[in-house]
């Protein structure tokens, strides 16, 4: 698995090197943070994903998430931010077995707006964290997951 990833990343890095020469964008492709994805509680997941950083609440982040998920298997989420120089956006689901759901690495060419559909085992806070060159910011929302319906 690691070998494969290394191959993939080296390919990606070659691409990135070519790009640097052409467009001078920084590479976005870092090695996936396996430790953060493997963490089993929110604190560990955040500490591994953003070591040494503390997230401050920000109203410049919008997390669009349903109040009640239609189905925990497919919960659509959108995170937007009007903060400057966004480097990454991560989505944590507090009560999932592994809270870090996904992490997006962004560069100056990106608009800080990403969407993803995730799984949620049960009702939980969903936390969107936005990393900028000024620090780490967050907003959260509870998403209720109900089980045991006829499906409409």
């Amino acid at each position: 698995m690691n070998i494969v990833r290394r191959d993939f990343l080296s390919l990606a890095t070659k691409g990135a090197a070519a790009l640097m020469a052409v467009a001078a964008f920084p590479s976005l492709v870092f090695a996936r943070n396996d430790k953060a994805f493997g963490a089993h509680n929110l604190a560990d997941a955040v500490a591994n994903r953003y070591p040494g950083m503390t997230a401050a609440d920000s109203d410049k982040i919008t997390l669009k998430a349903p109040a009640i998920a239609e189905n925990g298997a497919v919960v659509p989420l959108t995170v937007k931010s009007s903060l400057d120089n966004v480097k990454s956006i991560s989505i944590f689901v507090e009560n999932n077995p592994a809270p870090l759901a996904t992490s997006f690495n962004l560069g100056p060419q990106n608009i800080a707006e990403v969407s993803v559909r995730i799984r949620m085992g049960k009702t939980s806070n969903v936390i969107a964290m936005v990393e900028t060159d000024a620090g780490l910011f967050q907003t959260k929302q509870e998403v209720k997951v109900t089980i045991g319906g006829c499906g409409g």
């Binding site: 349903p66 497919v74 319906g149 006829c150 499906g151 409409g152």
Partner: protein
């Protein structure tokens, strides 16, 4: 003499035609009357819901989940199924023929003509059954009816028929009997919970049964096949019927059984005039 016989034959012929025309008109009139009552029920129950919106299933009534649904429909998971269905549809059988050879207009944009009553075989023909009949007549094995390749092919055929209006007719005694059987099924209580289709999807439509709001029966069939989050897959209407029956703890019928085909015939006739909008996403 000869002339008289001929005249007589023509007269009888005319008479027979008139009688059978009257009959088929009255079947369609009876169905039309039912359809009107069916719609009146919903327009009285939910006066704020636009008639056309019933094609969107439960989302016509459940505004909270509608937003999530619209978000998923933005790039719905069934698009992968439609693509796969298209390539399956265009892959020739071993004998060199294709699905296109079995259907009118090469199978494109024709889903609104199903289900229909086949006078010869005296049965309701659904598009899924027609797909398998096509395979079998070309020496291929039939596909499973609840999902998989068959649902993908059906999804593609429905996708090419999006926006086409249902305009089914009930033209014979046999067709009307099939319609009546479907109607009877729809209104009959079943299972340990003693619910009929009508109980959940008319009387209790829009209300919460355990965790979920139930969908209105009007518009039920237009969006199928559906990609359900619960299934994590695309499935056919008859898979859904089976699930509904199980929910009320009634032993389900087989997909493409006579019972479910007749139920589909009745339900689809109630949606006459609606545009097909399948495949679609459901919870």
């Amino acid at each position: 003499m000869n002339k008289n016989i001929k005249l007589g034959a023509v007269l009888i012929g005319l008479l027979v035609t008139t009688v059978s025309y009257q009959a088929s008109d009255s079947y369609n009139d009876m169905v039309k009357k039912d359809t009107q009552q069916f719609r009146d029920f919903f327009s009285k129950k939910f006066p704020y819901v636009e008639m056309t919106d019933y094609a969107n299933g439960v989302y016509a009534l459940d505004s909270a989940s509608r937003e999530q649904w619209e978000e998923i429909e933005e790039f719905p998971p069934y698009e992968l199924n439609v693509d796969n269905g298209e390539s399956l549809f265009n892959t020739p059988f071993k004998n060199g023929k294709t699905y296109a050879d079995c259907f009118s207009n090469g199978g494109i944009g024709i889903a609104q003509n199903y289900p229909r009553y086949e006078e010869g075989a005296k049965e309701v023909m659904t598009i899924e059954l027609a797909i398998n009949r096509c395979r079998q007549s070309n020496g291929e094995k039939p596909l499973k009816y609840k999902g998989g390749a068959l649902a993908d092919i059906s999804a593609y055929m429905h996708y090419t028929s999006r926006g086409n209006k249902l305009a089914l007719t009930v033209d014979s005694k046999g067709a009307y009997a099939a319609y009546e059987a479907g109607k009877k099924f729809f209104y009959s209580k079943r299972g340990q919970l003693n619910f009929s289709c009508a109980d959940c999807h008319m009387a209790l439509a829009g209300q919460r049964l355990r965790a979920d709001i139930t969908s209105p029966a009007l518009g039920h069939t237009t969006g199928f096949p559906v990609y359900r989050s619960k299934w994590n897959a695309l499935g056919t209407l008859h898979r859904r019927y089976g699930g509904c029956n199980k929910n009320v703890r009634a032993k389900p019928f087989k997909a493409q059984s006579t019972e479910y085909r007749e139920l589909q015939y009745f339900q689809t006739l109630m949606n006459n005039g609606y545009e097909l909008n399948g495949p679609s996403a459901r919870k």
